[in-house]
Amino acid sequence: MDDNTPLEQFDPDKEKVLLSDVLDRVLNTGVTISGDITIGIADEDLIYCSLRLMLTSVDKLRQENLNDSPES
């Protein structure tokens, strides 16, 4: 790698959104094949929903912590 390559800025928000984007795609789309072992579609939707809820609550928690932290 070139030594002069500037280090890209780390953006924690971007990271988080990408994760939810990845999950959106990986868990919700792609070729659905009835393999020998397949997860029931309804099951998977439920799991996906609870994962979404988890991401949401992590996000809320972060937001609240930010709000609680003193100004300045």
């Binding site: 990408l18 990986v26 792609g30 094949i33 997860i39 998977e44 799991i47 979404r52 996000d59």
Partner: protein, 247 residues
């Protein structure tokens, strides 16, 4: 230890051991203890496990896509034996061949349009002709009249905000369409997940020729420049494995 086969996707034949005609499976052996019917169902409830495996699914497909066309499978397509995978390739080979053709030299990208309500409202208050007029009138009115005008003013603003969102949304949608072969209108992302960015009003995965990615990037940049001040923002992500275009 017993092993199962996790299939990530299908690629053109590259002399891999699980193949049929000109198709190969992109696969990995996984332990039955983790991916067998019962344990897999249990593991799915474990968000940490699920997140890790979902990311691995994504990474594998991303890596493979650097060298060849890949038809991505949905998370958790698991087979008991190589023979069963070959059987599946055999049964679906016509569909897969058509898909490979559709995906050739193309990538999936994702475009999202967001608006931030407060900025959009203040922009409209300053720039919308009817509304600025009404505002002036409001300031020069007697209290009684002002009260009524205020109601009218609020309604007008709500209407104008809605009209503006839909105009920008429709325009972006139309312009993107002219650049892509395939696109798919997806449900907007949950508000609680996009708090900092505003409200997601368009979520558009597109399948685009690699040579046209530049044009999409320019288009998105122009929208940022022209509509940023009004409270609109855009997100362009990719290239993605073509998850949305393989049904």
């Amino acid at each position: 230890m017993n092993e199962l086969i996790y299939v990530y996707g299908v690629t053109p034949n590259d002399n891999c051991e699980i193949a049929f005609n000109n198709l190969s499976a992109l696969y990995e052996y996984v332990p039955e203890s983790e991916f067998g019917e019962g344990s897999f169902q249990n593991n799915l409830q474990n968000t940490e496990w699920l997140t890790e495996k979902a990311l691995a699914h994504q990474t594998t497909l991303e890596q493979a896509a650097k060298e060849k066309i890949v038809i991505p499978f949905k998370f958790g397509s698991i087979f008991k034996s190589a023979d069963n995978v070959v059987q599946m390739l055999k049964e679906k080979h016509q569909q897969f061949e058509l898909l490979l053709e559709k995906l050739r030299e193309r990538e999936e990208w994702g475009i999202k349009l967001f608006y931030e309500s407060t900025s959009l409202t203040s922009w409209i208050e300053e720039h919308h002709e009817t509304i600025t007029q009404l505002n002036t009138e409001l300031k020069n009115s007697t209290p009684g009249k002002a009260f009524l005008l205020k109601k009218q003013y609020e309604t007008k603003i709500r209407e104008a905000v809605k009209a503006e969102i839909n105009a920008v949304r429709q325009q972006l949608y139309t312009e993107i369409q002219t650049l892509t072969d395939h696109f798919k209108l997806e449900k907007e992302t949950d508000r609680s997940l996009t708090r900092e960015k505003g409200i997601n009003t368009l979520n558009l995965p597109i399948l685009i020729q690699k040579t046209k990615v530049d044009q999409v990037q320019t288009l998105v940049e122009n929208y940022r420049k022209n509509y940023g001040e009004r409270g609109f923002s855009l997100e362009l992500t990719g290239p993605w494995p073509p998850y949305n275009f393989v049904d």
